[in-house]
């Protein structure tokens, strides 16, 4: 789902949502959905008049510098998003370029460099590790194996965080490897919701197409279950695995019904849409809860 139907309810999530559209070919669809019909007078607002003095910051750091009113004005005058798209391209800003290059997940909304955000990720992971009392415990030999184990784990986390980014293949949740390990938990879930929403990118026209697409979507679900998900705290990781197993079960049932012609193509399409919609909503709600 890339159009206005995927607009987050929380206005603070709009900048990220809009930015991802601005660097994609789907911006035109959004503008199409929101524009006033030809022949109806539009106001004379410009990008500069909406953003005011914040325009250079927008071109440097993205839309999160705008307030709610300004974001709504942009959506009320959607053709101005094309102006923003052009200006963002010509601004040569690392922030927008990272978004456009698909390295969206390696840039934080604050425009931090990839290295910085990665460092923050490592630091926060370290903070979340079980704390060990200082003092006596460090000199107690019985804890040395524990320390060695902890060091090994930290090394493993370091290797994981610094591994070369694998080339993401497939679509939907199968692209889970494209998400940076340094993402904040809420951002990570938001990105997962966007990946889940990729179900809506294509409308299968035959049962065979639908089956194929369902199997691919199911594969993505399995990849998510098996993924280490270092972005999440253990309890959230467990929550996500449980949810994923439920969705995977729903998808399996639907695939079986479709394979054995127990369900019509139209009904199966509707059910698939409902499952994908549930996945997206649950992930977005959880992202919101954690933000």
């Amino acid at each position: 789902m890339t159009g206005i139907q995927s607009l987050p309810d929380n206005i603070r999530l709009w900048p990220q949502w809009l930015e991802s559209l601005i660097v994609s070919p789907h911006l035109a669809d959004l503008v199409d959905e929101l524009q006033l019909p030809p022949g109806i007078n539009r106001s004379n607002l410009t990008l500069a008049s909406i953003c005011g003095q914040k325009l250079p910051q927008v071109l440097e750091q993205g839309l999160s510098v705008l307030d709610d009113q300004q974001l709504m004005q942009l959506l009320d005058h959607p053709h101005l998003l094309f102006d923003l798209q052009q200006q963002a391209f010509e601004a040569c800003s690392p922030y927008w370029d990272q978004l456009a290059s698909g390295a969206v997940d390696q840039a934080t909304p604050d425009g931090q460099a990839m290295g910085e955000s990665r460092a923050v990720g490592i630091a926060s992971n370290t903070d979340e590790s079980p704390t060990i009392n200082t003092g006596r415990i460090w000199s107690d030999r019985k804890f040395w194996p524990l320390l060695a184990l902890a060091a090994g784990l930290l090394l493993a986390v370091g290797v994981w965080l610094n591994r070369p980014a694998p080339t993401p293949t497939g679509w939907g949740l199968a692209k889970i490897d494209s998400l940076s390990p340094a993402l904040k938990d809420s951002t990570y879930l938001q990105r997962l919701a966007e990946l889940a929403a990729q179900w809506n990118n294509k409308q299968p026209t035959t049962s065979e197409n639908l089956l194929q697409r369902l199997r691919e979507y199911r594969t993505g679900c399995q990849m998510l279950i098996e993924h280490p998900k270092p972005q999440l705290k253990p309890e959230d990781r467990q929550w996500l695995v449980t949810k994923c197993q439920k969705w995977a079960g729903d998808l399996d049932q639907l695939i079986t019904k479709l394979e054995s012609s127990q369900i019509s193509f139209d009904d199966a399409s509707q059910e698939a849409l409902a499952i994908a919609g549930r996945m997206e909503t649950v992930l977005r709600d959880k992202a919101l809860e954690l933000s």
Partner: protein, 173 residues
């Protein structure tokens, strides 16, 4: 890298294209949607063959991007015009600048009349959101007046627009 691209260094060309391709496709999609990839492929071919780009240096990155952006726009509009000549494009396009130059005032009047008629067939909420927005209220004002979330206003409006477009296109087809 850019100088390399000008000298037809294949690695530099690949790097150049990877760096700008997604941006360029996004820019071209404003005009040609599904043909954007193809248009940008042609633009890059043209850019790499164009000797004039050979004095480009990294210092001139902003002007290089402006040049690329103009290329993306002009080649996309060329493609759009070629499509229009084959009558493949129906109203409305997302681009007012392109559309308005090719619409007669009679067409506009007919469309407005049809829009008004089509709006009558919408559900009351959709019609209300559509009429208030088209009447000049901001989405925030419409939300307040209808007592709904602003997100819902955008959804109602876009659904209304979609329904109207389908009807108008059906009429004009």
């Amino acid at each position: 890298m850019m100088r390399g691209a000008c000298n037809h260094d294949s690695d530099a060309i690949v790097q150049h294209d990877e760096r700008y391709r997604r941006w360029m496709v996004a820019l071209a999609a404003r005009y040609v949607r599904n043909d954007a990839e193809e248009v940008i492929h042609d633009v890059f071919s043209e850019v790499h063959l164009n000797k004039r780009t050979c004095d480009f240096t990294v210092k001139a990155e902003p002007s290089w991007r402006a040049y690329l952006r103009r290329m993306a726009s002009s080649r996309s509009i060329d493609r759009l015009r070629a499509r229009k000549n084959r009558q493949e494009v129906a109203w409305p396009s997302n681009d007012f600048d392109v559309e308005e130059t090719t619409q007669s005032s009679d067409d506009s009047a007919e469309r407005l009349e049809w829009i008004a008629k089509c709006a009558e067939s919408l559900s009351s909420r959709h019609r209300e959101a559509f009429e208030l927005r088209a009447g000049g209220l901001s989405s925030a004002e419409v939300a307040e007046r209808m007592g709904i979330a602003v997100t819902k206003v955008y959804v109602y409006y876009s659904e209304a627009m979609k329904a109207i477009k389908e009807r108008v296109e059906g009429k004009l087809a």
